[in-house]
Symmetry: C2
Subunit: 347 residues, 2 copies
């Protein structure tokens, strides 16, 4: 395996240094005035598909804050176009047709990332060339079940009831769709690693909507195959984020992930109980805490640092994407505070 | 206390009979053709505000299925109009103005149920007069934090980020709003008990959005006061439904609730671990399981019955509201199956 060179990669491999690395989910985005300015003249889809712009946006937060990792600016739905899905953002994803039958599944094809997501790979190469050498570059994809939810529902939803019903009503077609998404996202992440990503993250935003039994039966086997397919090709730290997945972690433990991202509703020490002390945890400050007074924000960050101390290593992050109305100065304060606190403890 | 006379009330008091009582969250609603027919000529708001219609809808599912309880047909937002909130449904709740400052909170007044929610009390009296004597009548209200989420956000939301930010940005105003909602909903539930409700349920649909720390600090104290205010006036079983509250249950244990409703993502046996074996649990079949084949549906129901066996008693229910596209014949099959399975086990 490549020698972990950055603080972030070391933490992903379970190596604790003087402080936990810090990055922020959705760190490149609407809370940054420089992002909003750039987006005035280009829509979201164009921004994700134009490597110069996507690379610029990916790097914006690192120019403002001393973050330890950049994450590709893109959307989990972006690669689905290469599988034959018609897609728009308004601003959430809207599909031209939902996938709700075995015949619908047959209309989709496996992703060939080099052919249909070349702009993502080019973005990674451009970021790689500009990124500080002590910062890591994270590539990512949607996890199969989360993409399945959007594909069956035809867009966003509060509870993805149609998608969850489809899983039970047509388990064979659903499994075929999940499998196609799993192999495609594995190929996508392998290509991202080859284009320069130091670590690979699977976002399972809707994992929390499937109960433990259905997770074990329909979701976990495909996640395992996805991880195995990536491991067979490239050696990069793998991060699995099971949003609202508090009740799934004893099963997530079976997944060969290096790092498990935890949302803000589960204290990290309890996550470690279910995951085992050999797993690295990432998270999990409540994004709402960024709206608190600085003393409250500092106390909340300290709690997260304390909670993460029992894991093999800890990647400091929010427990979910940063909210678009967040004051960037609060983010600056948070990042500095985590740096200082950690160093103080080590000293 | 009134002697528990129905199977449902007995279970709520921890008395196990030959089988667990069964009811279905959102059992009066759009999946029933007779409900859709009635709604063709009357909008949702009018239906909730016209006692004859609301009582008819409340009783519809009991005419079709051998359910052990009726639940008032209403909406958790309905009583807020009596607090000075302008409200419409389109179809989710839409408020005429969000509550986002201390001054906004001051514009609201405490609910006087007899004055401004008399139609709800009249609905309960009408249902009471018609309901089978072996079925219980459940009154309900939204829990303070869930109502807070809607009031601050101004309507529904995927993550209620504005409401959660307000909690941290203005903890004093937020607490004042939560407290006003708590005392108002306590008065509302007391009035419902006096109008004929045999049991009272607090729906905390968005409890899962607040982490354990904020729950303990802002939400739980007000819930405790709400429960105490109800207990001081009437003696009825209290059901608390903490949706997506898997990580909150050790705190919910401190709440003096008779029954805790559990969503489908947490196996009931694990809920009992956190709640203690003296608490009655309600739930928690995945509503999506109603779309499965009958053999799969039966197996899923059996799992729930098995999981609930370790609690003081078990009220069988779904883990969330029934989805509107559910086939009513599947519901009939489910209710019969639970009856038969339970009796077979007891025999």
């Amino acid at each position: 395996m490549p020698e972990p060179k950055t603080l972030f990669e070391k933490a992903c491999r379970g190596i604790r240094e003087s402080r936990p690395p810090v990055w922020i989910m959705r760190q490149a985005g609407r809370y940054l005035p420089e992002y909003r300015k750039l987006r005035e003249r280009v829509d979201f889809l164009t921004a994700t598909k134009t490597p110069e712009i996507a690379a610029r946006i990916t790097l914006q937060p690192l120019e403002r804050f001393p973050l330890d990792a950049a994450i590709l600016f893109s959307d989990i739905m972006t690669p689905l176009e290469g599988m034959g899905v018609g897609l728009d953002f308004a601003p959430g994803p809207v599909l031209d047709r939902p996938i709700r039958s075995a015949a619908d599944v047959d209309t989709l094809r496996a992703l060939v990332p080099e052919e249909s997501a070349g702009f993502v790979l080019e973005t990674l190469r451009m970021v790689r060339a500009e990124l500080r050498s002590d910062a890591a570059l994270i590539g990512f994809a949607g996890a199969p079940f989360t993409l399945f939810c959007y594909l069956v529902e035809g867009g966003g939803s509060k509870d993805f009831a149609t998608a969850r019903a489809f899983l039970h009503a047509e388990p064979e077609a659903a499994t075929r769709l999940l499998r196609l998404l799993g192999t495609s996202m594995a190929a996508y992440l392998v290509a991202q690693a080859r284009a320069g990503a130091d670590a690979l993250m699977l976002f399972d935003s809707w994992a929390g909507l499937v109960g433990p039994q259905s997770f074990g039966r329909y979701v976990l086997p495909i996640l395992k195959d996805t991880v195995a397919a990536i491991r067979a090709e490239v050696d990069r730290p793998l991060i699995y984020f099971a949003n609202a997945g508090a009740t799934l972690l004893s099963q997530v433990r079976e997944l060969d992930a290096d790092v498990v991202g935890i949302d803000w509703t589960l204290p990290l020490s309890r996550a470690v109980q279910d995951l085992g002390a050999d797993v690295v945890v990432q998270g999990n400050l409540d994004p709402a805490a960024l709206f608190a007074s600085r003393s409250e924000l500092a106390a909340a960050a300290d709690d997260v640092l304390r909670e993460g101390a029992g894991a093999a290593a800890h990647v400091f992050n929010l427990g979910h994407g940063i909210h678009r109305t967040t004051d960037p100065d609060q983010v600056a304060f948070l990042v500095d505070h985590v740096h200082e606190q950690s160093l103080r403890k080590a000293g």
